[in-house]
């Protein structure tokens, strides 16, 4: 099976500090993957590289069947070809309603002229309704998203990601600051998404990762330390030393 995203031999350093060191990573078209690792392991930098925010010093990032090189593309273009990203801190447009937030994210032509004369069609409205019910915000569509609770904002952002209809979702600590019930709902949303697309979840919380029931990649000092099922990697000696043992 051909892979959706192939990152190979990527390195990047900031002022001499090697944040990512010869990292290789690949994920298939409909796969869930969790990335764990201690602080400073390079999890966020890895996402920055894939989404075009940071340019690696060396290595390649290939995308899709055509093996398109993502290095050198800008963030907006990478987002348009199908990579969605959720930030650690919930970043939704707090001054705008849930509906506006979702409608902005729904996949459509994104050039200024067509956005200016954009009129939501039936399918756009249906998509917003569908997503809102999926993330449990159907009753909140008209509210300003700034008024939502922390967990609801996280869901809204996941909903905005799904609205883009990406083939790959990069999700940075989706469960941070959530209650237990909210976590379970989040797990369900992500599992559902992973049926049709690739999902990469960066997470600290082991219980949350366990509930995702997926392959785990452990990062340490900018490269892959271990890969496999959660039980497999948690028994790995190196992993215990650098991460779990602390």
């Amino acid at each position: 099976m051909s892979q959706l995203l192939e990152v190979s031999g990527v390195s990047v350093s900031f002022d001499g500090f090697k944040a990512i060191n010869n990292l290789s990573f690949s994920i298939g078209p409909a796969e869930m993957r969790a990335i764990i690792g201690p602080n400073g392991a390079g999890k966020t930098t890895f996402m920055d590289i894939v989404t075009g925010k940071t340019k690696p010093d060396e290595g390649s990032v290939l995308w899709g069947d055509m093996s398109k090189n993502l290095i050198g593309m800008n963030e907006a273009k990478i987002a348009r070809i199908g990579i969605g990203r959720k930030f650690q801190r919930p970043t939704v447009f707090e001054d705008q309603s849930v509906f506006e937030n979702l409608l902005m994210a729904v996949k459509n032509d994104r050039s200024p002229w067509s956005v200016l004369f954009f009129k939501p069609k039936f399918k756009d409205l249906a998509k917003v309704e569908e997503l809102a019910s999926e993330i449990g915000l159907s009753d909140q569509l008209e509210r300003k998203s700034g008024e939502l609770s922390h967990g609801q904002k996280q869901w809204l952002e996941i909903g905005m990601l799904l609205a883009q209809d990406p083939q790959l979702l990069l999700v940075d600590e989706p469960a941070a600051g959530m209650t237990l019930g909210e976590r379970e709902h989040t797990t369900d949303i992500l599992k559902e998404a992973a049926k049709t697309r690739a999902v990469v979840v960066v997470e600290h919380d082991m219980d949350f990762v366990r509930r995702l029931e997926c392959k785990v990649t452990v990062l340490h000092e900018g490269s892959v330390l271990a890969e496999g099922s959660l039980d497999h990697v948690t028994q790995n000696k190196d992993v215990i030393d650098v991460y779990l043992g602390r």
């Binding site: 963030e75 907006a76 987002a79 970043t91 447009f93 954009f118 300003k144 008024e147 609770s149």
Partner: protein
């Protein structure tokens, strides 16, 4: 009707503008009782143009979050473009008339030279510089009113946004742009008469028989109409998805980028659009002012523009109109010598000097205590109050509102 429902301020604004226009017309010397002096009609007409450029500032700053301190450069350029035609056409009429008295009819070349001497004698030249090549054509100069500010904004914006210059650095760049432009125009060999600028613009060519009383009202009407159209365009732009995207850029640029929108493209779009609006405003303003010179586009003018929008209330279009109207009319009152001096015994406060201190103070006070500006008063009336948090973040996440506060 849908459009009106989405913009509750629209009927109120149109009604206010209509009543205002009719009132001024019925009080004017040309078409009414004559209670209002022609010079005051001109002041009001100019104020409408300033409101128009304030709308463009609000679009670029209040909605898109680009604090441009250079929009008066576009305003001035629009004025220069229309001024070139006005000056050329009127001088030509006068020259042709005076030459008609001579025995031998003047050739086209002689007329052109005479016009050149009339216009450029003041900077010691008589030749038409290249920039005047279209000055004979009204329609060409009207096109340039739109094209010159638009192109300058396109080139400047493309360079600045592409390099992702944001925030205060962008503000400084725009100040540098307007300063450079005004310094260039101050030179005699810039081709636009140096520090003399273009003058006599209040006299419309071929309409010498019509008194300024009537002309002033015509320009007042044109300005009111332009303001109305701009208001409608601005409302259209900020509503719907485009409005969502530009407000998103203001609040979190990176997030918009990761949604797949080309932030640079949208910024450039708004920047060019507002530069064109500013240019049109200038083209209506300077025939009423009668004179334009490079001092008009000095950096301070663009800063005033930001002050008007801040005092009026940014992020709402009628706020910009109110800000420009109130501040520029109050400014006319204080700097026109109408305000009585205050004698403190040991010192006399002359408002001509102290007005700017007052303006600066009110700017600081508005920024600190009423960030919504004068436009915020309408929220007070309609009961849309935001919670007073006294600076402390409330709610589960920083900056979020609590439910009961938000419903107030």
């Amino acid at each position: 009707m849908d459009f009106v429902k989405k913009h509750p301020s629209l009927p109120a604004f149109i009604a206010t503008l209509l009543i205002f226009t009719l009132a001024v017309t019925f009080l004017s010397e040309a078409y009414g009782t004559g209670t209002m002096s022609t010079s005051f009609v001109k002041t009001l007409g100019k104020t409408l143009c300033l409101a128009l450029v304030a709308i463009s500032m609000d679009l670029v700053w209040g909605y898109t979050g680009i604090l441009s301190l250079g929009h008066f450069a576009f305003f001035g350029l629009g004025g220069y473009m229309i001024g070139m035609w006005l000056m050329f056409a009127r001088t030509k009429l006068i020259v042709v008339e005076s030459m008609a008295a001579a025995d031998i009819p003047a050739t086209a070349m002689e007329i052109k030279d005479a016009v050149g001497t009339q216009i450029f004698g003041v900077v010691g030249s008589s030749d038409f510089p290249l920039v005047w090549m279209f000055a004979h054509s009204f329609w060409a100069q009207i096109a340039l009113v739109v094209l010159v500010p638009g192109l300058l904004a396109l080139v400047f914006g493309w360079l600045a946004f592409r390099s992702r210059v944001t925030g205060v650095y962008l503000s400084i760049l725009t100040q540098a742009m307007t300063l450079a432009l005004s310094l260039y125009l101050f030179q005699n060999d810039s081709g636009l008469r140096g520090n003399n600028g273009l003058s006599g613009l209040q006299n419309l060519p071929g309409l010498d028989a019509v008194s300024q009383d009537a002309v002033s009202i015509w320009f007042f009407w044109a300005s009111a109409f332009a303001l109305l159209v701009t208001y409608l365009i601005a409302n259209f732009v900020v509503s719907g998805k485009f409005g969502s995207v530009i407000r998103g850029i203001r609040d979190d640029e990176a997030r918009v980028r990761f949604l797949g929108y080309s932030v640079e493209g949208f910024k450039l779009f708004v920047f060019v659009l507002t530069a064109i609006i500013a240019g049109i405003g200038g083209a209506l303003y300077y025939p009423q002012a009668g004179i334009i010179n490079p001092a008009e586009i000095a950096p301070i003018a663009s800063i005033y523009l930001a002050v008007w929008v801040a005092i009026g209330g940014r992020g709402r279009i009628y706020g910009a109109v109110i800000g420009a109207g109130v501040v520029s009319l109050v400014s006319t009152y204080f700097t026109g010598g109408q305000a009585p001096n205050i004698n403190l015994g040991f010192y006399t406060i002359k408002w001509v000097d102290w007005w700017q201190v007052l303006l600066g103070l009110s700017f600081v006070l508005v920024t600190l205590f009423a960030p919504k500006g004068i436009g915020g008063l309408f929220d007070l009336i309609s009961g849309r109050l935001s919670p007073s948090r006294k600076g402390a973040p409330l709610g589960p996440d920083q900056g979020s509102l609590r439910e009961q506060e938000a419903e107030k």
